[in-house]
Amino acid sequence: MTRRFWVFIEQDHGEMHPVAAELLGVANCLVSEVADELKASGEEAIVEGILVGHNVDNVAKEALMYGAERIYQVDDPAFEHYLNRPYTEALTHLVEKHKPEVFLIGATTLGRDLAGAVATSVKTGLTADCTKLEMGPFRKIEKKLLLATRPAFGGNVIATIVCKDHTPQMATVRPRVFETPVRNPKAKGEIIQESFEVTPEMMAAQLVEFITDQTASLNLEYAEVIVSGGKGLGNPKGFDLIKELADELGGVVGSSRAAVDGGWIDYAHQVGQTGKHVRPKLYVACGISGAIQHKVGMQDSDYILAINTDPQAPIFEVSTLGVVGDLYDVIPEMIKQLRAQKGASA
């Protein structure tokens, strides 16, 4: 019997979503964690990608390069745009046909409701927004189970959840929680076309119009890059430097409450408990000590760079990377090197 570790390969108009690659990496780790059981039982384990869409052959090839050994591809015009019902029915059919042991799906807006529907349709357990996944023993159950760890009650409690005697054990994971595995362009693997008959009843909901959101005004809450200034700037003029770095990174200017208190910048820029909650991809905190009420407003950012003269500043507790130094030196140097890089690659 083959132990199948599945990953849903999410794609958007033929573009593979990076979270799929991250989860293929995780799936291969899980397989390595059951190597001892495989040797003992003589069973085999395989990481397989599940791809649903229309004209998505290149996505299948791409997935093989990130560690999928086999792809089941359902390619049909009905699946060109994501709709919950047809996608759920197709996945349910594949699960019932191949009986995977573990099924990982990216916790994107698409993945979150697709996983909920599939888990219910297949009558199995699902753990959402996991921050850690591993195969491990649980009580007296003979085979290792998927131990899925996730935050609950607004991040105040961390729980490890198991799905016993139901398969597949399903879990969703937010993008960028796990590293992206190395892309191996020479990877080989099998792509199996699976057919699935979509009934009209499944197509009760249709996409009528799609409005891309480039024009979303760069307001703080939805900005992708935020460069924030705090008390460490010393005076209002400091925000000119912050603005320059923000423009260089294509971001917007934020601030801590202390800067707003000092009257250096308008209240609309304030990030924090009594200001705005933000989740940008990149948050650069300059001269911000990082008192708790500021951290609450920005700790969900994906990547946090903090620049502060004080190595003990609390901001370093939540940042991904810290530079200990005077921002009036560090920022101009950073702008210079960014421009140099742009110059080189332009």
């Binding site: 209002p236 409450r257 707003v260 208190d261 009257g263 250096w264 308008d266 209240y267 924090g272 408990q273 009594t274 008192a291 708790i292 009420q293 500021h294 609450v296």
Partner: protein
């Protein structure tokens, strides 16, 4: 008790750490506090609202105008009573909104 010589000074307090402990039902549609005439604040000598609001909801902006973080208010009334120019439009929040003490 350790003996220290000079009189104990006033500690620096970051008011927002206090606010983290409070439960608010924030009224998205109506603000119950407002500055009646911002120009008056610019002439106000010591701006007591900023100094004595127990939750630091009043903040000086550039040019000595005053901004209110209304959602931090605990409806104590100090600003209304201390404002030398009666320049604060002070109302209780709409029913069900504002601070909601968990312990009290």
């Amino acid at each position: 008790m350790e003996k220290n010589t000079q009189k104990r000074k006033l500690p620096q307090v970051y008011i927002d750490d206090m606010l983290m402990s409070l439960k608010y039902f924030t009224d998205e549609q109506e603000l119950h506090l407002a500055i009646i005439d911002p120009a008056v604040c610019q002439t106000c000598e010591d701006q007591p609202c900023i100094q004595f609001c127990p939750v630091g909801a009043y903040r000086a902006q550039d040019g000595r105008t005053v901004q209110i973080a209304v959602q931090s208010c605990v409806e104590c009334g100090t600003c209304r009573v201390l404002c030398p120019y009666l320049n604060v439009s002070w109302k209780n929040p709409r029913g069900g909104f504002g601070v909601s003490y968990k312990f009290g």
